[in-house]
Amino acid sequence: MAAIRPLDDALSAIGDGCLLAVPREVSGVAMEATRALIRRGVKGLHLVTLPTSSLQADLLIGAGCVDVLETSAVSMGEFGPAPRFTAAMTAGTLKIREATCPAIHAAFQAAEKGIPFVPLRGLIGSDLMTHRPDWRTIDNPYAEHDPIVLLPAIRPDIALFHAPMADRDGNVWIGRQRELATLAHAAACTIVTVETLHEGNLLADPTLAAGTLPGFYVDAVAIAERGAWPLPLPDRYPADQAHLTEYMKRAATPEGFARYLQDFVHERRAA
């Protein structure tokens, strides 16, 4: 069961080389925690995004924290290609396990169910298949001549995300972001940062309980106000457009990115 802990303490379970799973931008990205990990100098991460990422993956890659990336896409959306991801890929310095969004969702759901694999339609004839030998085509036993792809379960060591609130029992309100529950169910260890502490028990009110991940699945909670900044937090605050524009400008070159890290990560500056 989770206790509310200081951020660096809550992140202590994230060791070098671990399989770290993080959600997509609109679901609640633990950016303050990501900066703390970079400050600490985490190395060799196998980063899995459920199913895509933006600034979080770009920062971790640019800071040299990631050995292997499993993703459906890394993009800064309207701001354009993710600069450090793109640079690392074209330099050939980042190992990537290509995927497509529903395949990553399904593989996490397989881990959630305790099943070793799950079938998924589509995929056949895509070059994703040639790059993913772990995705295997079998004949659907329930039909004639019907090939279908199987995906192995993804069981992360750590799930890390940001949410609006948690209570002292480690219950976390995730609202409509149900994939955060899947993430926690699939992972061996779940670390959550939240905007605020909810006084009282989130499970006590049936309306709040409907959007709550039980503390049973949560190993550590840290308070991080505006912890998704400069990314948005659903229903709470939008992305910081000006800062992301600034990021794109700086991160276009290795030197500019280094200065960005210095100014906004190591110096702990915030908006």
Partner: protein, 260 residues
């Protein structure tokens, strides 16, 4: 939120959104993925014209998105056969309708790297009407054969597939996709462009009937709906697009935005 300038010239984005809105047709549910402001404009326009139908799901939106089951619901919904129209693009698109969202050159050390396949490796197979769009129509983007197939345009008959491409809309023209022939057919040429130019700028072979017409511009009512009703809604998830194309900013009071 601001109202847009009603009398200014038609922008290319507006034309493309109008073309795509027409392609959507009479369906129940249109979904729009990440980083797709023109398809999002088209889908919201189709809904405005349809008086609330089709359902529109903008993946990144809180407001225009009824999903309550998390990120997987879009894909499950498609797998259930409940998404009728979706949009895909490609760093490269080839004449067989294959799309490449991954890379150009050697995959492990590419010359060009794109963001990744997103949901294409699934949705292209299970959404009945996939509309391809690519605003840059050139031999660089429309190629004979893509370097990496994120998702193929067609599949062998024995492969379960309920969806696929129906059209490709670019900044120069609209193609229809003929699934039986596995190739594109030029459908209409946008105002200011020519068939010869399109042949010259397209890297793949396509069918070209003799009587190609000009792509119709949106009528005044459509344009008014797009600029006054749709554009303000876009600012939630595409603030830069909404500002650049429609002069609208969600962050500034209306009077300021009008002056922008």
């Amino acid at each position: 939120m601001s109202a847009a300038q009603p009398d200014r010239a038609l922008r290319e984005e507006e034309l493309l959104a109008s073309v795509i809105a027409d392609l959507i047709g009479n369906v129940r549910h249109v979904a729009v993925g990440n980083a797709s402001p023109i398809p999002a404009t088209a889908a919201l326009l189709a809904r405005e014209r349809g008086g609330g139908r089709p359902y529109v799901s903008l993946l990144q939106s809180r407001k225009h998105n009824f999903f309550t089951g998390g990120g997987v619901e879009l894909f499950d919904c498609a797998g259930q056969g409940r998404i009728d129209v979706f949009f895909l693009s490609g760093g490269q698109i080839d004449g067989q309708g294959n799309i490449n969202l991954v890379s150009i050159g050697d995959h492990d050390k590419p010359q060009v790297r794109f963001p990744g396949s997103f949901g294409s490796g699934y949705l292209y197979y299970v959404v009945p009407k996939v509309i391809l769009f690519r605003t840059e129509h050139s031999r660089r983007t429309l190629v004979p054969k893509v370097d990496f197939i994120s998702a193929p345009g067609t599949s062998p008959d024995h492969v379960h597939r309920t969806g696929g491409p129906v059209a490709l809309v670019t900044n120069r023209c609209a193609f229809a996709f003929d699934r039986a022939r596995r190739r594109f057919r030029l459908q209409s040429v946008h105002p200011g462009h020519t068939v010869e130019e399109i042949v010259a700028e397209t890297g793949f072979a396509f069918d070209c009937p003799a009587d190609i017409g000009e792509t119709p511009a949106p009528d005044a009512a459509t344009l008014k709906l797009m600029r006054e009703r749709v554009a303000p809604e876009l600012a939630e998830i595409y603030p830069r697009f909404a500002e650049r194309v429609f002069g609208i900013s969600a962050d500034r009071p209306q009077s300021l935005a009008l002056g922008a």
